[in-house]
């Protein structure tokens, strides 16, 4: 099943590439001949034009201006020389790179103890009572040269321990006009999976990221070094096919070869689930060590005022459980986005948008024998099983875990209503669950090294949970916002939590254009 899947993915990729190369070659020939003809014709005509142009242009431009007062000359806005007292322009039009800076902060609190990674799964969600620096993001973008565009997002943040850190959120180059409607983006990129994963924190409609995204795609979203090929299909409606190929290891590939996630209390500093052999810590030795994320998206303008976007995504790659390369994770997702905006909307208001994503994850857990060294789990020779080792229900013998595949489901739906200029009311419903796996039913214990142990029970990362989130946002302008949000959160075995967050944000410099 594994092998079939990989073969399938590679075959499809190769076929697409070959087909495109062939058709690109044909069109290239036609284009070449066309261009030569055009150039010849232009050369002849330019000679002709040179003779006439002075006369023609002057009659047009200097046509009598009956009012007499306004300028009719064809000279562009006269460029003003820069003076030392003038500001250095950071923004569009005047620089090689547009520089933007967004600071997002939250204040508030929750009835729960484990906010960071417990109730709040996203790496840039509010992470403590009081104040949180959700992120201060610097964005640089611009044309690299006539063929490439560049973009970089650096994120500065402070965790709940007060430690500052920096993240290379994204940094990539992208082709501007490859033939055949292809486009390649390469560098450090957010995987194109569904809608929410590729969005930067400051464009979120809510203070925090959806639960299913936090669990399946990771606290900071699924992103890694790699490349993405995309193809705009020649259909009358918008239809785009994408294939991402990225590394599958590291903390930003949570369901794959993640080595635990420093942000996530739900599984802090340990694997998502399952246990891995040392040799699983490999880099990329084989094509099957990579993460593949195909996506297809299409869009229709239902009416002049309503637009629909539908997408199907997949993420396939090896995971961190078990031995080397014998376990994989498959994530499938469907997403839908619908937006209504009347044709006389002012400053983007009013509008109604609805967004939903559902995902399924199939995670293969590899076999693992906790008696790795054959000494009954007593490495220090004190007669007890060492602390940190997982034993069977008796607590006396290291556990032997069989391989199994666990399946999880999750999704969210959110409605945003921009009811008057600058004001948006939002409502989101989150749900995540998974079927109970054999390792959760087995009554395993995590021993403390002194003959005691704690029951593992249900895996907190796979527990059923739902959340209801109303919020209200005020955008004084496009460059700032204040958002108040309440989360009603119900986690199985842990109970209900209430959280209230006030988010505030400012933007300096260039404002990246909004994606739809």
């Amino acid at each position: 099943m594994n092998r079939n899947f990989w073969q399938g993915t590679i075959m499809v990729g190769v076929t697409v590439l070959i087909a495109s190369a062939v058709s690109a070659q044909e069109t290239n020939e036609v284009e070449l001949l066309q261009r030569e003809l055009r150039e010849l014709r232009e050369r002849m005509q330019s000679l002709e034009q040179k003779l006439n142009s002075a006369a023609t242009n002057s009659t047009l431009l200097a046509s009598p201006d009956s009012n007499g007062s306004a300028p009719t000359s064809a000279s562009a806005t006269p460029a003003k020389g820069w003076l030392p007292s003038d500001p250095l322009r950071i923004g569009r039009g005047g620089t090689y790179a547009d520089i933007g800076f967004v600071g997002t902060f939250a204040a508030g609190g929750s009835t729960t103890k484990d906010i960071e990674g417990g109730t709040q799964l996203g790496g840039h969600d509010p992470n403590q009572n009081g104040f949180t620096v959700q992120g201060v993001e610097m964005n640089l973008q611009g044309a690299v040269d006539p063929y490439l565009r560049g973009n970089a997002n650096l994120l500065f943040s402070v965790d709940s321990g007060g430690e500052s850190f920096m993240e290379l959120e994204e940094a990539w180059l992208e082709t501007v006009s490859l033939p055949g409607n292809f486009q390649i983006r390469a560098g450090q990129i957010l995987s194109e999976f569904g809608r929410a994963n590729a969005q930067h924190p400051h464009t979120w409609g809510f203070v925090d990221s959806p639960l299913v995204n936090g669990r399946f795609l990771g606290a900071d979203g699924l992103r890694n070094p790699g490349a993405r090929l995309s193809w705009l299909a020649p259909t009358p409606f918008y239809s785009e096919l994408m294939l991402g190929i990225q590394n599958s290891q590291g903390e930003t590939a949570a369901s794959f070869r993640s080595d635990g996630d420093a942000h996530a209390g739900e599984g802090e500093e340990r694997l998502p689930f399952g246990y891995r052999h040392a040799e699983n810590d490999r880099g990329v030795r084989h094509v099957t060590d990579l993460l593949f994320t195909p996506r297809y998206a299409m869009s229709f303008d239902v009416t002049d005022q309503q637009t629909l976007v539908l997408g199907a995504s997949g993420a396939f790659g090896p995971n961190a459980s078990g031995g080397s390369g014998d376990t994989v994770t498959q994530i499938y997702g469907l997403d839908l986005y619908w937006k209504w905006k009347p044709s006389n909307a002012h400053a983007g208001f009013p509008f109604v948008s609805f967004q939903t994503e559902v995902m399924v994850r199939r995670y293969q857990l590899g076999a693992f024998d906790w008696d790795e060294n054959g000494n009954g789990g007593d490495n220090d020779g004190d007669g007890f099983v060492d602390a940190g080792i997982i034993t069977d229900a008796t607590g006396l013998a290291p556990a032997v875990l069989a391989s199994e595949t666990v399946t999880d489901y999750g999704g969210y739906a959110q409605l945003l209503y921009g009811f008057r200029q600058g004001w948006v009311a939002g409502l989101r419903f989150d749900y995540v669950t998974g079927e109970r796996a054999a390792y959760e039913r087995a009554g395993l214990l995590l021993v403390d090294g002194n003959g005691g142990g704690a029951s593992l029970g249900r895996d907190p990362q796979r527990n059923e949970r739902w959340r209801l989130t109303p919020n209200l946002t005020w955008y004084p302008t496009e460059f700032s916002k204040i958002r108040l949000q309440y989360n009603y959160d119900d986690r199985r075995d842990l109970g209900r939590d209430h959280s209230v967050w006030l988010q505030f944000e400012f933007l300096l410099g260039a404002h990246a254009a909004h994606k739809f």
Binding site: E26, V30, L33, Q34, L37, R41, Q45, S46, Q49, T56, N57, L60, L61, S63, P64, D65, S66, N67, A70, P71, T72, A74, S75, A76, T77, D86, G91, R92, G93, R149, E174, T175, V176, S177, L178, Q183, L232, P236, Y238, S299, D301, D304, T307, V309, S343, N344, A345, H346, A347, G348, G422, T477, E478, F479, H511, A512, A513, H514, K515, F516
Partner: protein, 301 residues
């Protein structure tokens, strides 16, 4: 192989003899209306923003990517009016012909003298346009400059049609010249008259016809009217005897009406986009409508 060659030849013949119409995408309906005049039946015009829509805030709909992908040329305002939505579309469009610097990338404001180019840039003044006020097409003299530039730009893309484009532009310009005399005469009695506007998008129109537009319902560009600001507007309107408020179709007419009630002013529905008010579907028809309805409103007072 033979059939392939025949096909190629066929395609070539078709491309060179059957003069396919230029497929031109225009961001806003005002520029589109001039492009239609200049291009005539030699071009196919697709307009992205609708005439009643706020041109600063158009959604970057994926269907626009498809339109831009197939375009031979793109006409944009050229002064950052579309900055909030066009760049994302251009990246997705992956069309070499409309990359900046290409003949297929046409800036509507080439040759237009921009008003209100700020000397200092600070958003404390609201969402100001760094390259000058982008609402320039509504001045008929600017429309003539646009037409001449479009004729040149189209000729570059389709040299076979060059003469036709220049002739069309001349015809449009002549029609405008004739009309401009009429429009100027019609508004001449109201030189210096105060006209209140919601957003600062009419300076070119005001300058052309000698009207004074320095009172705005928005406290600063892009900032929604506050009650305190509206109170000061009402006081100023009374003091300076301003009795006409103009409102674009996408702006809040109720706010304008409230102010009008307290000042005994007339609200005039205006638009900068042909099609934005009923019955004014071409550039000249729109200008006709604007001049006539303003003259009527100013006359009344």
């Amino acid at each position: 192989m033979k059939t392939k060659f025949a096909l190629l030849l066929g395609a070539l013949l078709l491309a060179t003899t059957a003069h396919a119409r230029l497929n031109i995408v225009v961001t806003t309906p005002d520029l589109a209306s001039i492009a239609k005049e200049v291009g005539g039946d030699k071009v196919e015009i697709t307009t992205l923003a609708r005439p009643t829509e706020d041109p600063h805030f158009v959604d970057a709909k994926p269907s626009f990517i498809v339109k831009l992908n197939r375009a031979d040329a793109l006409i944009e305002g050229g002064a950052d009016l579309e900055i909030g939505w066009l760049p994302a579309l251009l990246t997705g469009a992956r069309n070499a012909k409309i990359q900046s610097g290409q003949p297929g990338r046409i800036l509507g404001n080439a040759g237009v003298v921009m008003l209100e180019v700020p000397t200092t840039l600070t958003r404390a003044e609201g969402d100001i346009h760094p390259l000058g006020n982008p609402h320039y097409v509504i001045d008929p003299v600017n429309a003539k400059i646009v037409a001449a530039h479009l004729a040149d730009a189209f000729a570059k893309l389709d040299s076979a049609g060059a003469e036709a484009y220049r002739a069309n532009a001349k015809k449009f310009t002549d029609a405008l010249d004739a009309k401009l005399a009429e429009w100027t005469a019609k508004l001449a009695p109201f030189k210096g008259a105060k006209v209140v506007s919601y957003h600062n998008s009419w300076p070119y129109f005001a300058a052309r016809y000698g009207l004074t537009m320095n009172i705005f319902l928005e406290p600063k560009p892009g900032i929604p009217p506050s009650p305190a600001h509206l109170a000061s507007v009402i006081a100023r309107m009374k003091e300076e005897n301003a009795r006409v408020i103009i409102v674009d179709p996408y702006l809040n007419r109720k706010t304008a009406q409230t102010v009008a009630r307290s000042t005994d002013a007339t609200v005039v529905d205006v638009a900068q986009m042909p099609g934005g008010v009923k019955g004014a579907d071409s550039y000249i028809a729109l200008e006709d409508y604007l001049v006539n309805s303003l003259a009527a409103a100013l006359e009344k007072k």
